[in-house]
Subunit: 309 residues, 2 copies
């Protein structure tokens, strides 16, 4: 096999109460990478589509190729590749755009090199892409994009990541308003300290969400999708946040909050029809404030990256 | 039925990572209450054993009778009672002594009055006993003492308490050193703010412990029994804390930390034999520092209060 085309899914990180520790994958959107082996060493990005010309073509600066270079260094290979990258979601969307590209890249190169590493072991390479793109090697986007499903990052040092089963009918609504938030900025406005009281409240919701998901207790999931630490700060960066959130809840969403660092917002619902209704209501609420938006509705993607051809 | 004798179990609150939100019940020790209806209104404490004469006999000041008075007010009854209380664990032990007494009292009076309230609805009365005894109406001891099992307090406002199934073979070791820590003091030395970094670490462990318990994943339980917020502060009140903890871990405990506000320490193990070996090692470690101690080993008590006669 000399070439491969791979899709890796977008992800919703934080999931209300789980800042830096929770994330789940969706079926769409997602990024695509095409890799072709070449006869000379080195990585050459031949094309990037969908980024508005903003991502670097320099292989030492693009998250996808940085991840591939780390991978090649690890396995001790000087195989060269041509890379085409297709971004199907905007940069700075809060949907794990850089993570999806990095995961697609490292999954693709592992396949073309004959799978020298297990899929799980690709995680630390993909995290290096996050360091390039966001300034921090976090795992709450690359984890679910690589492994699929709902992922918990229990610990970063040592890295301890595991999947949680979710109810089969659980559906996600993801709405991206056409504005941009820089992840570094969104992280910068957070306080370095939280009150013990808020930490306790958040811990209660973390416990409730995990128990609710594992036991398919939708009421408990709903009561636990509450964020008293991050959302009150970051929501100020999103126009009409409260209106959009209430539109989701009024239309039957279990909960609604910021996807990752925003400005995308997500909701979870107990079935597909509700998820679509919730999405329409959220778009209408954004539109009422003069903000156009894109809507994605899907189940929880259990698969992670997928070979397209 | 004119009289009843009720046992309510001791409890381990916090359970390492779950400050104010986790607690579980054990089979022993526990407190006992005897109630006898009398022909005149009012509550009369006729005897308290095991408290070294330190608990008030005044019905308006003792946590047990305060809880009963609230209960009688709620159901609109002026039935009078004589009360005997037997404390089978020291005050200020960190084993939920006041909670066990309050739960035994409110469970007993509900039985004698013909069960006007569901067992679950007794929780808010028992919490009033905690307000009298500890200065705060917390639920992480009264919750598991009343409901049995491993209990999560997801929220205090509104009160949202639920039980988590635990692996059948999970065993608890509880060691009480013969020193005393005042719960109010133990709370007072805590900081009101925690770093966001530590809050994230703690949230990861909360998620891991719930997932580990529900999935009977002992390794995950073990990795998650870590407290980076409370233990580093409160452990200074316990002589040889680190030595005792390492003795537990070296002998196969899944984890070991402070029970409630201390000074009792608990460990969890994957079977009874390990729990006994761990307990012996913890006692030996305390003894090495000249501190005598009491040891209790049991499964997770799933029953809560029990009618003895």
């Amino acid at each position: 096999m000399d070439s491969i085309r791979v899709f890796a899914p977008a992800t919703v990180a934080n999931v209300a109460c789980g800042f830096d520790i929770f994330g789940f994958a969706v079926d769409a959107p997602g990024d695509e990478v095409i890799l072709r082996k070449k006869n000379t060493p080195g990585l050459q990005i031949t094309k990037i589509a969908g980024d508005g010309g903003r991502l670097p073509l320099d292989a030492n600066k693009n998250a996808v190729t940085v991840v591939m270079l780390k991978f090649l260094e690890q396995i001790g290979s000087d195989q060269g590749f041509e890379i085409e990258l297709t971004k199907n979601m905007p940069l700075g969307s809060g949907m794990g755009s850089s993570a999806a590209s990095a995961v697609a890249g490292v999954f693709a190169i592992n396949e073309l090199m004959g799978k020298p590493l297990a899929q799980r072991d690709l995680l630390r390479f993909a995290m290096e892409g996050e360091r390039i793109a966001c300034g921090a090697a976090h795992a709450d986007n690359v984890g679910p994009s690589l492994l699929g499903g709902f992922v918990v990052v229990r610990s970063y040092s040592p890295l301890d990541v595991f999947k949680i089963n979710t109810p089969a009918s659980l559906f996600a609504t993801l709405v991206h308003p056409d504005i941009e938030v820089n992840t570094k900025d969104a992280r910068y406005i957070l306080r370095n300290e939280v009150s013990l009281k808020n930490a306790i409240t958040q811990m209660g919701n973390v416990a409730g969400l995990i128990a609710g998901l594992l036991q398919s207790d939708f009421d408990l999931i709903s009561r636990s999708l509450v964020d008293v630490i991050i959302e009150p700060v970051r929501s100020i960066l999103i126009p009409e946040f409260d209106t959009v959130k209430h539109a989701a809840l009024d239309n039957g969403a279990l909960g609604c909050s910021i996807s990752g660092a925003g400005p995308s917002m997500f909701a979870l619902s107990r079935d597909m029809d509700t998820a679509h209704r919730v999405g329409a209501a959220m778009r209408t609420a954004f539109a009422g404030a003069g903000v156009s938006s894109h809507l994605y509705v899907s189940g929880i993607n259990q698969e992670g990256p997928r070979i397209l051809s």
